[in-house]
């Protein structure tokens, strides 16, 4: 699989579409002890306890870095640069103030990255809020909002409160499976009563199918086509897991005009608890 590396180190993105994305961490470069070892982190992604030299890299520090990266990609802003940093008084911490005793860097931006300031969307503390970036109602569902709150709210000072990667994988899969990709502008938005049209270009919601089982549901969409084929992922049928959640369990032939879904010729028949709901009429 050809790979290319984007600007973030440790993030590798495949060239095929849909592309794979691998986050490869540098844990094995770090020593076991705090003294005499090297703690390596990417600027602005390092967990507070890592940057403050209170702990070594662990899964919970990876969860922090992942959450910061995810937030930046989705919201187009950093989760800790809010009004406390941007609207600071002149007396406050810039290049021109006197350094304080406890932390030599009084620079407010650096304080924010080190976890000394609250999360910009913190439900219990709006002192560092930031109203810019993409509106969170458009890019986060309530489950993702909760994961970010747990990681950046309670999880800022209590690392054990940060949700593990399994939760992120599950909720991103859920959000993805309930998103519509606008055939006109290619942005994606959630399937919800709030969005009858694309919030970015006002194109009407396209016709699509929802495949449902007792445990999961996913939207099936063709690129502007009335008939198309789609794989039904394993997470519709099995408890969510990293290994099999994405695997193609069944192959479906979808006809939006006739409102009809059947297994692709030669592939296995659908299980009994799988249903299909047709949403919107094809033009």
């Amino acid at each position: 699989m050809p790979i290319l590396q984007n600007r973030l180190p440790n993030v590798f993105i495949g060239e095929d579409a849909p592309c794979d994305c691998w986050l490869i961490d540098a844990d094995n470069l770090c020593s076991e002890s705090l003294k005499g070892g090297q703690i390596i982190y990417t600027p602005h992604l390092g967990a507070p306890e890592l940057v403050q030299l209170k702990d070594v890299p662990r899964p919970r520090t990876d969860c922090w870095a992942f959450a910061v990266m995810a937030f930046q990609i989705l919201a187009l802003c950093h989760p800790f640069i809010g009004k406390k940093v941007l609207e600071a008084d002149e007396e406050d911490n810039g290049w021109d103030s006197e350094p304080s005793e406890q932390d030599t860097s009084v620079d407010l931006d650096e304080q924010a990255y080190k976890g000394y300031l609250p999360y910009i969307d913190d439900e219990d503390d709006d002192s560092n809020e930031f109203s810019g970036g993409l509106p969170r109602q458009l890019i986060l569902n309530s489950q993702l909002r909760t994961l970010f709150q747990e990681t950046f709210g309670a999880g800022r000072l209590q690392p054990h409160r940060r949700p593990s990667m399994a939760f992120w994988a599950l909720e991103f899969a859920r959000a993805f499976d309930n998103s519509i990709r606008c055939p006109s502008c290619k942005m994606s938005y959630f399937h919800s009563p709030d969005f009858e049209k694309c919030p970015y270009c006002q194109n009407p919601q396209p016709a699509f199918v929802i495949a449902k089982t007792n445990r999961w549901q996913t939207i099936l969409l063709g690129e502007n086509k009335a008939s198309f084929q789609k794989s039904l992922p394993g997470r519709l049928f099995h408890p969510f897991s990293f290994a099999s959640g994405d695997s193609a369990e069944y192959e479906a032939e979808i006809d939006l005009r006739r409102k009809n879904v059947k297994p692709v010729r030669g592939t296995k028949p659908f299980p009994p608890d799988l249903t299909f709901e047709f949403v919107n009429d094809i033009k």
Binding site: L76, W95, D96, D109, G132, G133, Y200
Partner: protein, 215 residues
Amino acid sequence: MAQNTFDPTKFTTQKAKPLPVILLLDTSGSMNIVTNPNDVRDTGQTGFVDGQQVRFVEGGITRIASLNSSVKKMLNTFSRFERDSTEILVSIITFGADTRMVIPPTSASNVGFADLQASGDTPLGRGLGIAKGLIEDKNQIPSRAYRPLVVLVSDGMPNDSWQGPLADFIQNGRTAKCDRMALAISDEADRNMLAQFIEGTGREVFNADTAEQIT
């Protein structure tokens, strides 16, 4: 209340902290002296410029031409850097016959740099005064920024009262907290003055027959 449409006109993102770079450039008459005296054609004329006896020649590369080319290369490098990362807020102040801020604080990618001309004396004190006024102004050089860098480029001896302004610059106010570099363009540069300018920065005075080392 849910927001159902995206209004791109309301979209803002966090403005990054800029890195202010202030260039304090000598544009006195001596900057017309050529950097390649062995490759020139003598016109036979002589004269007196900026306190020095000179021969007028053709076909040479003057110090000011070299400086102009280096500043342009530097702005190019800064612009490329700006694309990926930090905004670099460039200000350019000249001291010579024309002593003023020729470029106010501007993003490197947006700087419209016109080649500088050289003539006149070397009023370093006045130049420092303009730089001081700029840096003490929080509206022009914000507090939310990386530590500013001031680069002094000179090829000769200053001839106004500069000791007071220099001491004030490096000891008092916001200018005292700036980082500083000094570049001597020629052997005639006042190295004591330049060394004083960078005292405490841990640096040496840079030498350059051209000013490319600024980058």
